[in-house]
Amino acid sequence: MRIIHPRRVGIGLTSLLAAWALSMSVHADARSDSLVVALAMPLTTVDRLYSVQREGLVLAQLTDDGLFHVDPDTLEFVPLAAASYEWVGETRLDVVLRDDVKFHDGSPLTADDVVYTFDWVLDRDSGTSRGPVIRGWLDRVEKIGEHRVSFHLKVPYPMALRDMAVSVPLRKQGTYAHTGIRAVEQQLNGIGPYRVTGFRAGREIELTRFEDYYQASPKANPAIKYMRFRVIPDQGTQQAELLSGGIDLMLDVPPDVADNVRHLPNVERLEGDDIRIGYITLDAAGYSDPNTPFKDVRVRRALNHAINRQAITQYLVRGSAQALDFACHPLQFGCEGTGPVYAYDPGKARALLTEAGYPNGFSFDLWAYRDKVMGEAIVNDLRVVGINANLRYVKLNVFSKVRNDRDMSAFFASYGGGGTADASAITGVHFVANTPRNYSGDEELAATVLAAERTIDPERRLELYRQALDRIADQAYWVPMFSYSQNFLLAPGLDLSVPRDGVPRLWQARWSN
């Protein structure tokens, strides 16, 4: 059994791949005004109101504008289709619209359109994906002038601008009157810098630059005229296509693949942050089993000490990823915990376990649905301190069923929160009382988190979040793991600035010479 010489083969492969890429290169002149992007997940709709995938957000950056948007540099929420806004008290927001905004069909944007859009989202029967969230804080929207609307909130809600920026693209009045709530067949009529000119569900989306786009927008005058999104679920295929010029951009490339491919000519690699964190939730409340060891805070702290977050981050997540100490992303507003920090220390972990009455460790199921390699690394780390963790790696549909039934003793998961640079995006979903992700059973903590979400004053919010994060850290409800980084592979000559929040702004893309 003679093994072929892997490194030599690797090099051979590399050059072969390169030669192949060159020979099949179809990088034509036409590329200067077109860009082909690979999508791993099939998009089933181009309407952001109805899509749930992250890819939908990337696409909506191009086809749709909301009243606000996230500034790519500061990550602050700033007006876009809105000319200006003003808080009238804690629960009323008045917005003045631009008067030069046009829909893709040529009609101008008016206050009626804005009211229609928000009324549609507030309507329970419309079935929009973000409706439930918006209904949580927005009471009604009122037209107070041809280009003026007034938003009436149910509760003080600092993240109102974020939701308007990320979740509610503007629609022409009467858009859904004919086609009903299923937007699939519908010709998208947005106000973004690109319009949809072709859509085959799950296969391909074609966009063309919208020439009547309002010049005042930061997104105005994108360099590339045509954009095509091709659904290619397999990473290997995406690589091959990138090398052969079938696509120009790969998103979300696994770090190992990115490491390998960047050695090849014809490929460039970009690394950037992603406002997404990985964490382990421990069943501190004892939902899954009243006798679970995780009810004991010493056991939870032991786990925090046992897992080598640094190593996992450095070797497996890689890039700009950081190991985390608190239940939030460092880029987020409010992520300023001061509570205890648990260093990697297996000895201490063992001591804590012994103290808690588990000198020989114990067994439990660690559930996970993504990032299997990291899950494995965690399991291996726990094995060192005598804890036998069975990695229950399942698909999301099973995962969420078990999690929602509160049958998990611990789970390894990640959360992105739509790239929101605010601690509310993460703590809200995980620690308020009514969320199935909350396994802490800590009502006081839930109250703190809710209060922070309903507070407008930044100082007060900062303080509340500090309290909450410190409490989480002290009680070790979580093992915060790491923030993610993002890898992009690009065809050479493509200019793309790295997003800080992980959401690529493709309108910034251009071909350099």
Partner: protein, 313 residues
């Protein structure tokens, strides 16, 4: 019919020539001894048996043979190539995987899993298939109809999809994989057992047992079943091979053995993302799998060759 010269088979001639008053007992060997004698002259069987012996040895003594703990990760040392390649280290003879675990140790431990799954699942399948086959073949009637329906169900559903759905829903563990693979691989046993039972049922020794007062159940278990043992053994080995491949396939698709256990199929799946650049991650476990399965198949074919001639045509 013995009254005529049917001389298709030379053995037959030799046998019928022993008709007469006394028999020279040195003439014929007992079935087991005859099979053993034939086995000694069967190259394929010897090779297969040898490889399997080696694999079983590896599996049994893995803790002493493996240079490292297959579960201990060494992240800074991840994705090392085999030792004789640039960048390889002699500590890690066959390199390391994406978590820096020793690949050689994982492959050695992988033999345990493949063997356990193969033998376990084939046993589960045998128990189901032989029981049903014996019942259907011996008792017939509505029981046969019901079993036939089960077989149609089993055959009509793409078994891999069924297994995937089951494992997916029940969850992954060695036991689940063994039972699920076993529960979807019994048709072969059933078909063979059933037809052999149908044939044996008409044999006079069954009628003889019945007429000496044995119950139908006793006859099925004590008279018919022992005569199926050769065929069951052959199917068993073939099913072991199939089960090993099924496990590897399942693990490859991410629905087999749970990580971080060292299953060869899982190792191939984990290596797949970087197979163009770290091909040993895919090639090595694939070769191990190939060796084991070919050995089991050779053994199965060999067992069939040496036992099948036992039957009188």
């Amino acid at each position: 019919m013995m009254t005529t010269d049917t001389v298709k088979n030379p053995r037959f001639v030799a046998e019928s020539q022993t008709d007469g008053e006394q028999v020279d007992t040195g003439l014929g060997l007992s079935p087991a001894k005859a099979a053993l004698k034939r086995a000694r002259g069967h190259t394929g069987l010897k090779i297969g048996f040898g490889i399997i012996l080696l694999m079983v040895f590896l599996a049994l003594f893995a803790p002493w043979l493996a240079p490292h703990d297959p579960y201990v990760q060494n992240l800074p040392m991840r994705l090392l190539p085999p030792a004789w390649v640039d960048g390889g280290e002699w500590r890690y003879l066959l390199g390391t995987d994406h978590l820096g675990r020793d690949y050689l140790s994982r492959i050695i431990y992988g033999a345990r899993i493949s063997l356990a799954i193969g033998i376990g699942a084939a046993t589960v399948g045998a128990i189901i298939g032989v029981t049903l086959g014996l019942l259907a073949g011996y008792f017939g009637g509505w029981l046969d109809q019901a079993v036939n329906f089960l077989v149609t169900c089993q055959l009509a559903i793409p078994s891999l999809l069924l297994i995937m759905a089951l494992v997916f829903v029940i969850g992954q563990s060695i036991t689940v994989v063994i039972f699920v693979i076993g529960a979807t691989h019994w048709v072969f046993y059933l078909v063979v057992t059933r037809s052999a039972t149908l044939r044996l049922r008409e044999m006079d020794f069954v009628a003889a047992a019945r007429s000496m007062g044995c119950s139908r159940f006793q006859v099925a278990v004590r008279e018919v079943l022992p005569n199926l043992s050769n065929q069951i053994m052959v199917i068993f080995t073939l099913e072991v091979a199939i089960a090993i491949l099924s496990e590897a396939t399942l693990s490859f698709l991410g629905l087999g053995i749970p990580s971080p256990m060292p299953s060869w199929g899982l190792m191939i799946a984990e290596g797949k993302t970087s197979m163009f650049f770290q091909p040993w991650l895919v090639v090595l476990p694939g070769l191990a799998l190939f060796m084991l399965v070919i050995a089991v198949n050779l053994l199965g074919d060999g067992v069939r060759d040496v036992t099948v001639t036992d039957r009188r045509s």
